[in-house]
Amino acid sequence: MSKRRPYVRPMAGWWRKNPFFVEYMIHEGTALFVAAYALILLTGLVYLAHGEAAWNVWLEGLKNPWYIAFHWLALAAMCYHTYTWFKIMPRTMPPVIVGGKRLPDFAITGSGLAVAVTASLAMFGLVWGMAR
């Protein structure tokens, strides 16, 4: 009879054991804010569909200081999420070859972030222009 008796270590609390996992969990956590914000926008859309009066009620609601605080929080979370998302982007795509050389990771992350920032600013400018 074999005397082997392999011991399986428990996984409970695994994400607290390593700073890398903690960061990963925060990244995953910020995704909740992204989802929550999508929901908010969706509700806005529903109100809009009910006519101008409904829309104004919704807009008024947004002015609540709690809501504004939440917006700031969501913005911060979203920025963090964007950053970590692009940070792992080089790990998720085929190598990009430019001039026979492989594009380094930071170049991919950097261009991803640059595109995200540019797009956000353009959007912001557009909405700003329409609002005035």
Partner: protein, 595 residues
């Protein structure tokens, strides 16, 4: 005891063992193959080979040249008919590996690229960056998975052969995970257990390279041939012995002493030219380079480091880009282990034991004198390395002769009747009794590590780069003493699962036998040839008395008996071994004499 019936048993999952297993599987898919290895195959020490594998490739090269380099490099102690077979089959085997997926480095047009190597006249060393052995081993291992007839016994430690009616009929192994014994029956057995470099103190070898298979065959009366020839590699890391591949010099690295002087030009290897010339200076053969180091040390021209004297391997002029592309692993080793950036500072190096030229006596078809027993790879002495192996010949050897051994073992198995399982099992049980005794006995007081250390030190003292009768005698005496003390060895760990202390004790006993065969063979060879260099009145090669293979025969409880066998010469009569400008001159003279 568990037992398993195979047709062919292969002991060793390194390059040679895997190639043999595939050869058996391809020659007859009906044959059941048992591949027994004490580590998972990809951990085998073939993995550590860096530089490359030789096979004639360029149109400017020829089999003749490869033959001459090998035989001359081996100081004419080679079996020339076997070398002829070898050089003729290298290219084919390396191409076979290419078809199996080996990521050989390429030329821009997609052909396999070749690089220069020490002692080779023309560039003919195939390489996969500086991880050639790694890629060859993984390619072979992964390819072996394709064959359902290969049943692997991973992490099974072979402790003995079972021999009945004058032929070998299987092996006994310990399953390391459970500590239990298994009998693996087979109508033929291939030993491919690798070298024995760890009997020396400073060496480039992995922990598994303990000469097990050599000792097992030796104890069954198979002679070990040419064991005194142990190769020192000139460029190793001080302290750990880790290797900086010869490819460093193949790519153009310099060896300099404490004055920054390329000292090899003082030892008949010059002239010193800015870029490497084949078979000259830094690309001379390993024995000569290691010997030159020794002389520099005597003259006080080496540099004193924490782990003894060193010289400098200077790669700075090659530039970071080339180093990172061609020698990436070397770059990392230097940075991590030594804190040296080789693009900016020279690397301290010194010689360390690297390769066992001798081994289990086999003929050109890998058959040992014991019917049914075959051997291939570093554990064997098939006769291609003579007194000094040329770098990059041994990886090719694994493929060429791994295949031969597999095919021959398959043929033998098919022609033989199966054994009597009951009586084989009885033998195996006796083996179990004996081997278990090592850990169950009590009252020992010798530490394994102490004995091992003393053995390694005495081997270095007596059988180093240069040898003297009285120090060799001292080594022989010391080994006798250690064998006596081994009887008193203490294995603290009495348990079964993963009892590595017990395995270390078994390995140590193997190592002591192999060390003895080396030391006594060395003492008896009263000449200097290749890696065996004496300074006590036998400084010259003596073809009259010693153009002979030494053969060490096991004597239970005593010193080995040494006798001699003939060397097969087909077309190259012994000449002077000269390198550098002198070598070119000698070759021209030879050519002139031939026409």
């Amino acid at each position: 005891m568990e037992s398993y019936k195979a047709d062919v048993v292969i002991v060793g999952g390194g390059g040679a063992g895997l190639r043999a297993a595939i050869a058996v599987a391809e020659s007859d898919p009906a044959l059941r193959i048992a591949l027994v290895s004490k580590v998972y195959p990809m951990r085998s020490h073939t993995v550590a080979a860096e530089g490359g594998s030789a096979g004639v490739k360029l149109p400017t090269d020829s089999l003749e040249y490869h033959f001459n380099d090998t035989v001359g490099g081996g100081d004419w102690l080679c079996e020339q008919d076997v070398v002829e077979y070898f050089v003729a089959h290298c290219n084919e085997e390396l191409t076979q590996l290419e078809h199996w997926g080996c990521p050989w480095s390429r030329t821009p047009d997609g052909h396999v690229n070749v690089r220069a190597f020490g002692g080779m006249k023309i560039e003919r060393t195939w390489f996969a960056a500086d991880k050639t052995g790694f890629h060859m081993l993984h390619t072979l291992f992964q390819t072996s998975i394709k064959y359902p007839s290969i049943k692997r016994f991973d992490e099974h430690f072979c402790v003995d052969l079972v021999v009945e009616h004058g032929r070998v009929q299987g092996v006994v192994a310990i399953e390391i995970g459970s500590g239990e014994f298994t009998l693996v029956e087979g109508r033929s057995v291939v030993i491919a257990t690798g070298g024995a470099g760890r009997v020396f103190r400073e060496n480039t070898n992995g922990g598994v390279v303990t000469g097990d298979g050599m000792a097992v065959a030796y104890r069954h009366g198979v002679p070990l041939r040419d064991m005194e020839f142990v190769q020192y590699h000139p460029t190793c890391m001080p302290g750990t012995g880790l290797l900086f591949t010869e490819a460093c010099r193949g790519e153009g690295g310099f060896l300099v002493n404490k004055d920054g002087y390329r000292y090899l030009q003082d030892y008949g290897l010059g002239p010193a030219e800015p870029s490497p010339r084949n078979k000259a200076m830094e690309l001379g053969p390993r024995d000569r380079l290691s010997q030159a180091f020794w002389y520099e040390q005597q003259k006080g021209r080496t540099i004193e480091g924490q782990h003894g004297s060193v010289v400098h391997l200077d790669l700075r002029h090659l530039g970071e880009a080339k180093l990172r592309e061609r020698l990436p692993q070397i770059y990392e080793l230097a940075e991590q282990f030594l804190g040296v950036d080789p693009a900016r500072a020279p690397i301290p190096v010194r010689p360390a034991v690297h390769y066992t030229m001798g081994g289990i006596l086999v003929d050109g078809r890998c058959a040992s004198p014991l019917p049914g027993l075959y051997a291939a790879g570093e554990c064997s002495s098939v006769g291609i390395h003579g007194a000094n192996r040329l770098g990059s010949n041994s990886l090719s050897e694994l493929c060429v002769f791994g295949k031969v051994a597999g095919e021959e073992a398959a043929r033998f198995a098919k022609a033989s009747a199966p054994g009597n399982s009951a009586s084989l099992l009885k033998q195996a049980q006796a083996v179990e009794q004996r081997v278990s005794g090592l850990k169950t006995k009590t009252g020992g007081n010798e530490r394994i590590a102490t004995l091992r250390k003393e053995m390694a030190q005495t081997m270095e003292d007596g059988c180093g780069i240069y040898r003297l009768a009285d120090t060799m005698q001292k080594t022989c005496d010391k080994l006798d003493e250690l064998k006596e003390r081994f009887k008193n060895v203490n294995v603290e760990d009495k348990s079964s699962v993963w009892n590595t202390e017990w395995l270390l004790a078994i390995e140590l006993e193997y190592q002591l036998d192999v060390a003895q065969s080396m030391a006594y063979s060395a003492l008896n060879r009263r000449e200097s040839r290749g890696a065996h260099q004496r300074l006590d009145g036998f400084e010259k090669r003596d073809d009259e008395n010693f153009l002979k293979h030494s053969q060490a025969h096991y004597v239970a409880g005593g010193a080995p008996r040494i006798d001699y066998g003939d060397v097969k010469i087909t077309k190259s009569q012994p000449g002077t071994r000269a390198y550098g400008a002198a070598g070119e001159k000698a070759e021209q003279e030879r050519k002139a004499a031939n026409v």
